[in-house]
């Protein structure tokens, strides 16, 4: 296969800009090897393909050593871009990085455009469309878990899983096409009931995949967690403990948090956006104040609500109204966990009894001491994942485009099933299956009528 050999060699920092232990400068193109050898203390050869070689990077004039680093050479086409490629792992100091890149540019490399490495990989057939999208996702993945999902997609896991669904769809479509194109005698060549069962089975598989998107999306985009409670029950302290930062303004004066505060944290690999709202009292009093309006919109758009009470005090009138509020505005709409804060100050038996009436998870914590916080985090994770916690090996749909294609495919398949039950014309049924296949094809590559015919000729005895 002919490679995409552009005349120029491109270079860029591949790790995030800023200070860090290690930074990777990546260079791709036919000149990569000769350029790095002009700077490196050792001479890399073709045989060093995929070997990490330690040494120093010097200026081209060899007057000044820039950094100690590890270089790795990948010989095309066995590289990310399909071209000769060098990765220089240096120390994560912006000054050093800049110097190295500048030296390489002096020698004839040029700074890569955003996404240019990936574009070259794509043009050199190193990845298909779904993989190319996965690359973008890897770059954007904010968390370990998200990264793992993206990496699996990159390995073609999505293509495989959808591929097996597609194969079964091709089988079903073949049965119908055979009847339309090869059966002149109006004899039923397949059993409708069996085809229906197989289609229902496929629907279930697609549903399962679609379901993974619900938490796949959580991994990818993050979870919105809303803190609700009366003023001064310790929402902000809890936020600080969860975020392990001194972020929100902590004060004993009720209603200190006038607006809302957002904080990003990670819990068990989830990126979580915590929203701390104005105290619930305002909500209850229906004061038309900006903060309260936002609290209401936040409830509807959040993935989980933490309703915070104090454990050491009897419930007062406001608490009771808050409970009523939870019952009417939150329960059944958004999952919520009752958090009993200030557990370090004691416990009121009546409070517990009352709150059990909400029939939801209840966790006692102390934002001050940090007691029971791990349990709270665990509960948060469980509530978000429900029973469907992603297994490590499982394919998770994280890409909105994939989800949409699966949705459309599912819709067509559903119409096929309803159609077969109500006796719709077979040619229409066949076109539903074809649509279902076409939509899947948008993820893993097109399916042509030739594919169908090949399957038919391979599997069935055709011809009078």
């Amino acid at each position: 296969m002919k490679r995409f050999d552009s005349e120029d060699t491109i270079v860029a920092l591949s790790t995030p800009y800023g200070k860090g232990a290690i930074a990777v400068v990546r260079m791709s193109g036919s000149q990569s090897l000769s350029l790095v050898n002009r700077l490196f203390s050792r001479q890399l050869k073709k045989q060093d393909h995929r070997r990490a070689v330690p040494g120093e990077i010097w200026t081209a004039s060899r007057r000044q050593m820039l950094d100690e680093c590890v270089t790795t050479f990948f010989q095309g086409p066995q590289s990310y871009t399909g071209e000769d490629l060098v990765e220089i792992s240096c120390h994560g100091n912006p000054v050093i990085i800049d110097q190295i890149i500048q030296e390489l540019i002096q020698l004839g490399a040029r700074v890569a455009q955003p996404g240019e490495f990936t574009q070259r990989a794509f043009l050199n057939h190193k990845m298909d469309l779904s993989q190319a999208e996965a690359v973008a996702a890897v770059i954007e993945a904010k968390t370990r878990r998200g990264l793992a999902c993206s990496l699996r997609q990159l390995e073609g896991g999505i293509s495989q899983t959808i591929g097996s669904i597609r194969d079964e769809l091709i089988q079903l479509a073949s049965l119908l096409e055979i009847n339309l194109d090869f059966n002149e005698d109006d004899i039923q060549v397949y059993e409708k009931k069996a085809v229906e069962t197989r289609a229902l089975n496929l629907l279930e598989q697609i549903d399962h995949l679609l379901h993974t998107y619900d938490y796949g999306r959580l991994y990818q985009e993050g979870v919105k967690l809303l803190l609700l409670g009366k003023p001064n029950v310790g929402k902000s302290s809890l936020l600080n403990m969860l975020a392990q930062k001194d972020r929100a303004l902590v004060s004993d004066v009720p209603g200190t948090t006038r607006d809302y505060i957002e904080e990003f944290i990670q819990i068990e690999g989830f990126p979580i956006q915590i929203v701390d709202t104005a105290g619930i009292r305002e909500t209850l009093d229906m004061i038309e104040d900006m903060g309260v309006k936002r609290a209401l919109t936040h409830i509807e758009s959040s993935d989980l609500v933490l309703a915070i009470f104090e454990s050491h005090r009897q419930l007062d009138r406001d608490d009771c109204r808050f409970i009523e509020y939870l019952k009417s505005n939150v329960k059944g709409k958004v999952p919520f966990i009752v958090v009993l804060n200030k557990q370090d100050l004691g416990r009121d038996a009546g409070v517990l009894e009352h709150l059990h009436g909400l029939e939801t998870l209840l966790v006692e914590v102390s934002a001050k001491t940090g007691a029971n916080l791990p349990e709270l985090k665990d509960r948060i994770k469980q509530t978000l994942l429900g029973d469907s916690a992603a297994e490590q090996e499982e394919i998770v749909i994280t890409n909105a485009r994939h989800k949409e294609a699966l949705d459309l495919s599912r819709k067509a398949l559903q119409k096929f099933v309803t159609g077969i039950q109500s006796g719709v014309d077979e040619v229409i049924l066949a076109s539903e299956l074809r649509s279902a296949l076409d939509y899947l094809g948008e993820i893993v590559g097109e399916i042509s009528s030739e594919d169908l015919l090949n399957h038919i000729f391979g599997q069935f005895c055709i011809g009078k």
């Binding site: 043009l123 194109d181 014309d425 040619v427 076109s431 011809g463």
Partner: protein, 644 residues
């Protein structure tokens, strides 16, 4: 029939004292349509064939139409071709296939009286103005500056012409196999055509080899039909041609029988003398029409295979044993046949055989069927790698039309995939790698719901009339049909049915009753109630033709699906309209895979849409191509800015 010129048998060239606009080589189904179209469009036309009495011969089974093929015949008719009319004149068993599977795939098929068909075709050809038949073999062609100048007949006679259409069927270096016996032949009992393949290869064409086969023909009186399943023709018969008023010939039945395990054993015992299994045949046969020995070997677990006994005519005693194509030796053919119920005493009139022939992979032609490299040279039919009378006739018609239009300096007639099966056929031929004889299937048409046999007239008659093949009164009839359809649609949109009118009907057809007056249009969407009954209940004066009712019923019931197909058509046309410049150099796109680049250079697609349909061109390469076409377009516009 006379020879044009009495030619002396000298080796030097003799230039015939007559010149033609268009010469057609071959008098099969492609040749007939090509010759008639050319002559009817005012071209001085000559049809060159070895024997005039073999014009219109049905070499394979005596049936026209069938699944997807029936669509082609209707389209040929709508454009002003002949096949449908010939079939109507000689049909002895008409049947609408796929009747239970939805109007989009209904396909008409007819058994024809084989000898009567050929005679009818010959009569039309002989009566045609502007058309001469020349008995000869086209053995070569003269080309100057990439333009056809003449056909060479019988090795040394030069017949000047401005366009040459080759419709050689299986005759190019045809070779017949029966068991281990093999002999050069174009068709049972006829000589092959020699020299033409070599002449074309000398001109730079690439040739390949394909194979097809036929079953034995047996004598009607030797078959015991008593225990066999009878298939009766439709009554009344639906004619193929939009111009035919009714079918006059008496109709006969076909019969169905099945092989037995014993048959399979007998067939297997002959495999050591099979030209297929001993490797004598190199050409690829069609997978959709395997020989009986192939079926028995490849699908060993099938206990029986269906055989369809087709009468070859009313006064003709031959029976065509469809499903029993074979090239096994004579003794095996006979023994195996006689093990089949009803055929215990079968007498074979003609043996089954396999025939191997040359074809020219069809990427070498354009959508007009004119070859890329030689102006005025057209290929149609099996020479392009197709199989089937209907596929051949469709190409012959289009080649004849386009050759004439080009000589008249008019725009070509190119049907696209959303317009006609003929469009699908030719586009596939050009873009798909032909590995086996190509046959039309409805599944090849992505816009299947729009391309129905019953609306071929609405789809194509405007074209037929515009180019001058379809008489004005036929077009008017179609326009009247369109008006009646529109008015019926309007009526059904206005009328409401009351519960009193509708509910008895609902009860009869097991449908849900209504409680208040409901628009007729809405009730028409219920699949269980026929339109006719609804119209009667609504007091709409009937008298609509079946075709019109089917049409209205279809577009009402499947409105949503038709809308979606139309959206897909729009999408298809969009990418179809992204042209690839003729001077675009695929070698300048380094990241194309070698396979894709090779295919693109071969086919020379006119648009990105066409490029995306070429087999072997990867999807990712189309994306790459898109990037580079964009680059190319930008460069071009830069240049023009500089020079202006």
């Amino acid at each position: 029939m006379y020879r044009e010129v009495d030619v002396s048998r000298e080796t030097q060239e003799v230039v015939l004292n007559r010149a033609y606009d268009i010469v057609i080589a071959g008098g099969g189904h492609a040749g007939i349509e090509a010759a008639l179209a050319a002559a009817r469009l005012g071209m001085r036309t000559a049809l060159v064939t070895l024997r005039h009495d073999t014009i219109g011969k049905m070499s394979c089974n005596p049936a026209i139409g069938g699944l997807a093929k029936g669509h082609l015949v209707r389209e040929i008719d709508a454009l002003g071709g002949e096949m449908a009319k010939l079939t109507d004149a000689v049909g002895i068993h008409f049947k609408m296939l796929n009747k239970s599977k939805g109007p989009a795939v209904w396909s008409p098929r007819a058994q024809a009286d084989r000898l009567a068909y050929a005679r009818a075709a010959q009569r039309v050809i002989l009566d045609q103005n502007n058309l001469k038949v020349i008995e000869a073999s086209v053995t070569g062609l003269q080309v100057i500056n990439g333009q056809v100048q003449a056909a060479v007949l019988n090795g040394n006679e030069v017949l000047p012409c401005r366009a040459l259409i080759l419709t050689c069927g299986t005759f190019l270096n045809g070779k017949i196999y029966i068991g281990l016996n093999t002999f050069a032949s174009g068709r049972a009992g006829e000589l092959p055509a020699r020299g033409l393949t070599e002449a074309l290869v000398d001109l730079g064409f690439v040739a390949g080899r394909l194979k097809t086969g036929t079953p034995p023909r047996i004598h009607r009186d030797s078959v015991d039909f008593t225990g066999l399943e009878e298939q009766k023709p439709d009554n009344p018969a639906v004619p193929f041609s939009f111009q035919t008023k009714g079918i006059s010939r008496s109709q006969v039945s076909c019969f169905i029988t099945y092989t037995r395990p014993e048959t399979h054993e007998l067939l297997k015992s002959g495999l050591d003398r099979s030209p297929m299994y001993t490797g004598m045949i190199h050409g690829t046969g069609p997978r959709y029409c395997p020989s009986i020995e192939d079926k028995v070997v490849r699908f060993a677990d099938k206990e029986r295979h269906q055989l369809f006994l087709e009468p070859e005519g009313i006064n003709h005693p031959e029976i065509y044993v469809n499903g029993f194509a074979t090239s096994l030796p004579e003794d095996i053919q006979l023994k195996a046949l006689r093990s089949v119920p009803g055929m215990e005493k079968a007498q074979i009139i003609r043996l089954g055989y396999a025939v191997e022939y040359d074809f020219f992979p069809s990427y070498q032609v354009q959508h007009t069927l004119e070859t890329h490299d030689i102006g005025g040279l057209y290929f149609a039919g099996q020479i392009n790698g197709t199989s089937g009378y209907e596929e051949a006739a469709a190409q012959g018609l289009m080649a004849g039309i386009n050759a004439a239009l080009k000589l008249r300096q008019q725009d070509p007639l190119i049907l696209d995939r959303s317009e006609a099966y003929i469009g699908v056929l030719i586009d596939d031929l050009i873009n798909k790698t032909i590995m086996e004889p190509y046959r039309m299937f409805t599944s090849r048409a992505e816009f299947r719901l729009l391309l129905r046999h019953d609306n071929a007239d609405l789809r194509l008659m405007d074209h037929g009339h515009r180019i001058g093949l379809l008489p004005g009164e036929v077009l008017e009839k179609m326009q009247l049909k369109q008006q009646r359809i529109n008015s019926l649609l309007e009526k059904t949109a206005k009328i409401n049915l009351s519960p009193v009118q509708f509910n008895p009907l609902a009860a009869e057809h097991k449908s849900t009753p209504i409680s208040q007056s409901t628009p007729l249009r809405q009730l028409m969407r219920r699949p269980e109630i026929p339109l006719q009954a609804l119209l009667e209940a609504g007091g709409v004066s009937n008298g609509y033709h079946d075709d019109e009712l089917v049409h209205v019923e279809f577009i009402t019931k499947y409105e949503g699906y038709l809308k979606r197909q139309k959206e897909l058509v729009a999408k298809f046309k969009k990418i179809e309209e992204r042209p690839i410049p003729a001077d675009f150099d695929y070698r300048s796109v380094p990241s194309l895979s070698n396979e894709s680049r090779e295919k693109l250079l071969q086919v020379r697609p006119a648009s990105l849409g066409q490029a995306s349909r070429i087999s072997g061109v990867r999807h990712s390469d189309i994306t790459v191509l898109m990037i580079f076409l964009e680059k190319y377009a930008r460069q071009k516009s830069d240049v023009s800015r500089e020079t202006s």
